[in-house]
């Protein structure tokens, strides 16, 4: 081994603690890159493979009742490659061991042959006999959650008739990778499932013989999607069609896609932060090392080593640190990505997971990691090339200090000399002080930008679950019915109050902007489920007009006073001019609301309701469940109290894990920055501090000079970090919000406090690590040596 390389290894050994602190920060960046890209690509690949193999449709539409002959006309639309017509209905299930009713989405299978689109993949058993009236397949997760196996049976109420259905197999479908019940905000595999059964059985149960109410379309490669949608809409309109939509509005696809987008965004936005901090740390440590080794560098040059050889020597040191960080990051990334991919299969139901370990991810992360270290080293290494051997071998000129405004302030305040030393150190090296401050601030910001989400969710939950939706359950009716049904519901056992509303599919248009949505017609006096304004006050609907959620209003660029074109997409279709009378804040979903009487008047119908919110006497629940399970016209029930509980549990669990992980990562940054700063300050000042010890300063007084500076910078950094965190959180709120939910922007004092305390504690702990070295300063050596 060459001598310089021996020196390299010994330098590593000597600097191990500092190198480790840098390498771990770097490893975080590499790890997040590997995880985000790895999981995103794996999920994307799995998604597209599953979509392709199981022919996931491109366009979806529903109708009330369309004749089967219409299928041929749909196939004629230019750009259409495959058409599948089905019957899709909801049904109440009576499951053994579950007192409350569950809900199923019933999907028909073709009378002959395999489905052409959205093909379910069997995971166990076989597909049902198309001729059988009681054989079904269910989605695997529903079967698992309810301990169903092939041969298990359960009761379902199909259009008022109770049937015993037998499971012939379990499946997973590209249509239901993310499965969420109507009205629900979280998957609930126990209480919501998808049931596939033969067309004939469903058609006879729902009186839809020779007809369909759901259509899926697969496009040719060169199809004009919008044109197909328009044509399809025209064809379905006479049969109660509610406006076709593409994949972007298909619930499962929408959730999966937004998750993938978030992963991608994380992979792009977060790692650079860690790389920048690492580069800065390498710069600091190597800069100091080169200053200390000035005379050695002069000697190397004097004996004939070239500038290139000396530079390469120090670059290798930086690369070593980088390489170590990359390896740790890879190891952590691979194991965590594997765990995370598994975690995703809890929420996303894939029949398989194509785990992609793309070499380029590793190449990119290695280049970024080592590159950051080398870049950090560049400035210091350049300095070595500029040193002439003669100058290098003589000691450096003493640092020049100048009086400035801060000194005057210090003197004016009667600051003692240790404080003056701190002030001068900060003002003499403002760049170093700022970078240390920024490093700590970024770690504070990282914590705030992640942990504030739990604050936001608190607000969301409080608003959605406790302020707006105060009903304990929502019943959805199989068919719209007159208000008289509310009295029937109130007569059910345990129901204390029942309030109805009607949802009608409409297309809202403002100038060139258009959106398909279900508008909710509400009775003015509704008190269980309320539409609230920003101040959480119940919105009073004017007799005419529409109230929009803020996100929908934005999408339509509509303001109060604007008039929208509302095209009703079901029943007696027609166009209506409706004024916007209010815009409300809404966190879950997007919405449009009207007075039910006004809506009915527009539709020229008696007021109808298709869902009923109820409050319940808990003691009479079982009686209510029995009735609901048997009621012919109730298609589903959503228990809001269970949603609240489930949401609470999930949030509590994931908040614990997330908080720990981010507090750990942020602490790593702080330790990396503060420990290295402290070591460098100590190295620069060892002699000064030892002299003070000789002059009679205690260990505490001497430590104060070093730790005081770092803790002061930490105290400055924390509020700056609060500000950065605030901005980052604002950006995250923007990028996370979708039509599914809008994240409210709210950061609690607790979050600020936690981030501040973690940063300060980590900073103090790293400073204390260095303090031990102050206690061991060699006082005798100082008497004799010159730096």
């Amino acid at each position: 081994m060459r001598v310089l390389d021996k020196k390299l290894f010994r330098d590593f050994w000597r600097l191990w603690a500092q190198s480790l602190a840098i390498a771990l920060v770097l490893a975080c960046g590499v790890m997040i890159l590997v995880i985000a890209i790895g999981v995103e690509r794996s999920l994307s690949e799995t998604q597209s493979t599953f979509y392709e193999r199981n022919r996931f449709a491109d366009i979806f539409a529903s109708a009330t009742r369309a004749p089967n002959d219409l299928k041929r006309e749909i196939e004629q639309i230019s750009g259409v490659s495959i058409v599948e017509t089905r019957i899709v209905q909801y049904s109440i299930l009576d499951l053994e061991g579950l007192s409350e009713p569950a809900t199923a989405r019933l999907v028909s299978l073709p009378p002959m042959g395999e489905p052409l689109l959205n093909i379910p993949s069997l995971t166990t058993g076989r597909m049902p006999d198309p001729q059988s009236s009681n054989e079904v397949v269910v989605n695997s997760t529903f079967a698992i959650a309810n301990n169903f196996t092939v041969g298990s049976s359960f009761h379902a109420t199909l259009n008022g008739q109770k049937r015993l259905l037998t499971i012939s197999g379990t499946v997973l479908s590209p249509e239901f990778i993310y499965l969420i019940g109507p009205g629900a905000v979280m998957p609930d595999n126990r209480r919501f499932g998808v049931v596939w059964m033969g067309y004939d059985a469903l058609a006879s149960a729902f009186d839809l013989g020779g007809a369909f109410n759901d259509v899926s379309v697969r496009l040719t490669r060169d199809a004009n999607e919008q044109m197909v949608i328009d044509e399809l809409e025209k064809l379905l309109a006479p049969y109660g069609g509610t406006g076709p939509y593409d994949r972007s509005m298909q619930t499962s696809h929408m959730f999966l896609d937004s998750e993938l987008k978030q992963l991608k965004a994380m992979g792009k936005a977060v790692p650079p932060l860690f790389f920048v901090i690492s580069a800065f740390l390498v710069n600091m440590v190597l800069g100091r090392l080169i200053t200390l080794e000035r005379e050695q560098i002069g000697l190397f040059k004097a004996v004939g080593y070239s500038n290139a050889a000396i530079s390469w020597h120090y670059v290798k040191l930086a690369m070593g640190i980088g390489l170590f960080g990359v390896l740790v990051g890879w190891a952590a990334g691979i194991s965590i990505a594997y765990w995370m991919a598994g975690y995703y299969t809890v929420y996303f139901q894939f029949p398989y997971l194509i785990y992609i370990t793309s070499p380029d991810t590793y190449a990119i992360s290695a280049m970024a990691g080592i590159g950051a270290a080398v870049l950090g080293a560049a400035q210091s290494v350049m300095k070595t090339t500029k040193l002439s051997p003669a100058v290098a071998m003589s000691p450096p000129a003493p640092t020049r200090f100048k009086q400035n405004i801060f000194d005057k302030i210090g003197h004016f305040m009667g600051a003692r000399q240790p404080v003056m030393m701190i002030i001068r150190s900060i003002t003499r090296w403002p760049m170093r002080a700022s970078l240390t401050t920024i490093g700590i601030a970024l770690s504070v910001a990282t914590m705030i930008a992640t942990l504030f989400m739990f604050d936001s969710m608190d607000i969301m939950m409080d608003s959605a679950f406790f302020q707006a939706n105060r009903q304990q359950a929502t019943l959805s009716l199989a068919q719209p019915q007159s208000r008289a049904v509310l009295a029937d519901v109130e007569n059910l056992p345990g129901v204390l109050r029942a309030e109805g509303m009607q949802t009608v599919a409409v297309r809202l248009t403002n100038r060139h902007l258009t959106k398909i949505i279900g508008v909710e017609g509400r009775d003015p006096g509704m008190d269980l489920s309320r539409v609230l304004d920003a101040g959480n006050n119940s919105v009073v609907f004017p007799q005419q007009g529409i109230v929009l959620s803020d996100r929908l209003a934005n999408q339509l660029d509509a303001q109060i006073g604007d008039t929208l074109d509302m095209e009703v997409l079901q029943g007696q279709r027609g166009h209506f001019e409706v004024p916007v009378t209010g815009v409300i804040r809404q966190y879950f979903g997007i919405g449009a609301y009207m007075d039910l009487n006004y809506l009915s008047a527009l539709l020229q119908l008696q007021p109808l309701v298709n869902s009923v919110n109820i409050s319940i006497d808990e003691n009479a629940l079982n009686g209510l469940y029995e009735q609901v399970k048997a009621a012919p016209n109730i298609a589903g029930i959503v228990r809001w109290d269970q949603i609240r509980q489930g949401f609470n549990d999930t949030v509590a669990q994931s908040s614990g894990i997330t908080t720990t992980i981010y507090a750990f990562i942020a602490s790593l940054i702080v330790v990396g920055v503060v420990y290295n700063s402290a070591r460098i300050l100590l190295s620069e000042r060892a002699r000064e501090l030892a002299s003070l010890r000789i002059l009679g300063f205690t260990q505490n007084e001497v430590s104060f000079i070093l730790m005081g500076e770092l803790l002061f910078l930490t105290m400055v950094a924390i509020p700056i970090g609060f500000f950065f965190g605030y901005l980052m959180a604002l950006g995250i709120v923007e990028s996370f919000s979708s039509d599914m939910f809008t994240l409210p922007f709210y950061i609690s004092r607790g979050t600020y406090g936690f981030a501040g305390v973690v940063a300060f504690t980590a900073s103090a702990a790293s400073a204390l690590l260095v303090r031990r070295r102050i206690n061991r300063l060699d006082l005798v050596a100082v008497m004799k040596t010159r730096e």
Partner: protein
């Protein structure tokens, strides 16, 4: 002669470097008296610095004891030694050891702020003839000026003893003399017992007593009948 300020009793110091034992001091017995100016003279490695470090509370003895005004230094804890240095001892180093980020006045104030009965920093600087340079940073001062700031810093607490390790070692003869004048003036005006280590034989002529070191032992003690003034010394 007055009471001894320092008294040592068979002080021995052994350094273990690997397998080899190095005897830095071999049973040194010595008294240093109040208001006395003592020069410790001897070649490198003769043990004079080791003795100074033990007297200054920076190092401990392997065997034997050292006393300051009857208090046994060799039995003190680290904390007690710190207090001892803080309240009773002034140090002057060969390489000045000023804090570069503090001005001359502030370097002196560093010590006066933690001393029970200090003089004003300006007063201490005036005693070494630097009253016009008080707001300069070390980088703006010559070597001799820096050393005089260091002396001002050492005496500003009115120490009972002033320990100087090669105070002129890094200076040319002309500047060195100015520094010695400062030391001599403090010794005579404040009555501070002053111990100066040097291997510059010329300096011995300004001392009351000269103690010669060789091989970790005192080889000779010489009392000067007549002392030279610093400006009469040349090297």
């Amino acid at each position: 002669m007055s009471q001894p300020v320092f008294h040592t009793d068979e002080v021995t110091k052994v350094y273990n470097t690997g397998d080899v034992q190095v005897f830095a001091l071999r049973g040194v017995n010595l008294d240093i008296y109040a208001s006395e100016m003592t020069v410790l003279l001897g070649p490198s490695g003769s043990g004079k610095s080791t003795l100074l470090n033990i007297l200054g509370g920076l190092d401990d003895a392997t065997e034997g004891s050292a006393f300051f005004k009857g208090m046994e230094l060799t039995a003190m804890s680290e904390r007690q030694l710190t207090t001892y240095r803080r309240d009773h001892v002034g140090f002057v180093f060969q390489f000045y050891n000023l804090v570069p980020s503090l001005t001359a006045r502030e370097n002196v104030a560093l010590v006066t702020e933690i001393s029970p009965d200090p003089m004003l920093p300006e007063e201490a600087l005036a005693m070494v003839g630097l009253e016009n340079r008080i707001d300069h940073f070390p980088a703006e001062l010559s070597g001799g000026e820096q050393q005089r700031v260091a002396i001002a810093r050492a005496i500003a607490k009115r120490p009972e003893v002033l320990l100087c390790d090669e105070p002129t070692g890094a200076l040319d003869s002309k500047t060195g003399v100015v520094v010695l004048e400062a030391l001599s003036r403090i010794n005579s005006e404040l009555g501070t017992s002053t111990v100066v280590i040097t291997h510059n034989a010329a300096i011995q002529n300004m001392a009351h007593r000269v103690i010669f070191f060789a091989d970790g032992q005192i080889s000779e003690v010489k009392v000067n009948k007549t002392r030279l003034l610093p400006h009469q010394i040349e090297w």
